[in-house]
Symmetry: C2
DNA sequence: ACCGCCACCTAGATAGACTAGGGAGCAACC
DNA sequence: GGTTGCTCCCTAGTCTATCTAGGTGGCGGT
C-alpha cells in the first residue's frame, strides 16, 4: 500500500476556515463539516489540525468566538469572521491564485 | 511588516522537479533556474530545499543521476527522469488537480 | 444505569521547506 | 600569482503546519 497523500494542501487550512465562516458563525466541528461538504467530500479536516488553527486565527484577530449552544444542545464555541479576517481571506485567496497559477503554468508546458 | 508567505506550495516541490526534468537531464541549480523560468519568476526554489528533495527522489527511484560537466566547466550532477519517475509525475499531477479543484470549488462559493 | 455521540481539547510525532552556513574549482583580473 | 567572484554541491539545525492518538464532559435515548 502506497502512503496516501493528505486530504489537505499544507498552508490552505486557514484560508478554508475563513472562507467557511464567510456568511454565518459556526462552531469547530461545524466548520470541518462545512469544508468537507463545500468540497464535495474531497477535503477533510482533522480535529487535531482544526482546533490549533482556530486558536491561531483567533490570536491573529481574524476570527472571534463566543460560547453558545449547538443544534444538538451541546455547549459549543461559535466563531465568526472579523473585518480583519475578511481582509486576510482576500489576501490569502490572492496568494493562492497567484501561486497555483504559476504551478499550473509549469505543469502546462509540453 | 507581515511575514511573507513562501514562494512555493508545500508538497509540490517533488512534482515541479520531476516536471522540469521531463525532457532533458539537468543539474541541481539548472533545475531550480528552470522552475523559476517556467513559472515566470513566481516560484523560487532554495538550495536547502532542492538538494534534499533530489536525494529523496533519487532514493525513491524517480530520478537517476550521473556526474558530468556543466556549460561553465564545473563538475555537476545531472539528474534524469526514470520511467517510475514519469509515472510518479503523472500521479502527483492528478492529485494536484484533484485537490486544487476541490479548494477552488470551496473558494468559488458565494 | 448505561452507551453512544457530540463538541472541545492537547501532547507528541512527523515531514517538508527554509536559514545559514561551508567547500572546491574555474575564470578573470591586475 | 594572488585575489576576487562565480558556479555548483552539500549539510546541520530550525521552524511550522498538520496529523495521530489519545482524553474530558455532558446530553439523549434505551
Amino acid at each position: 500500500m502506497a502512503k496516501e497523500k493528505p486530504d489537505l494542501v499544507y498552508g490552505t487550512l486557514d484560508m478554508l476556515i475563513l472562507k467557511s465562516l464567510q456568511h454565518d458563525p459556526m462552531h469547530g466541528l461545524g466548520i470541518a463539516d462545512r469544508i468537507q461538504q463545500m468540497s464535495d467530500s474531497v477535503l477533510r479536516v482533522e480535529q487535531g489540525s482544526l482546533y490549533p488553527a482556530l486558536y491561531r486565527l483567533e490570536a491573529e484577530g481574524w476570527v472571534a468566538a463566543d460560547w453558545g449552544v449547538s443544534d444538538n444542545n451541546r455547549r459549543a464555541r461559535y466563531y465568526r469572521l472579523t473585518s480583519a479576517g475578511r481582509r486576510q481571506l482576500a489576501a490569502e485567496t490572492d496568494h493562492w491564485v497567484r501561486i497555483t497559477s504559476a504551478i499550473n503554468l509549469v505543469l502546462a508546458q509540453g
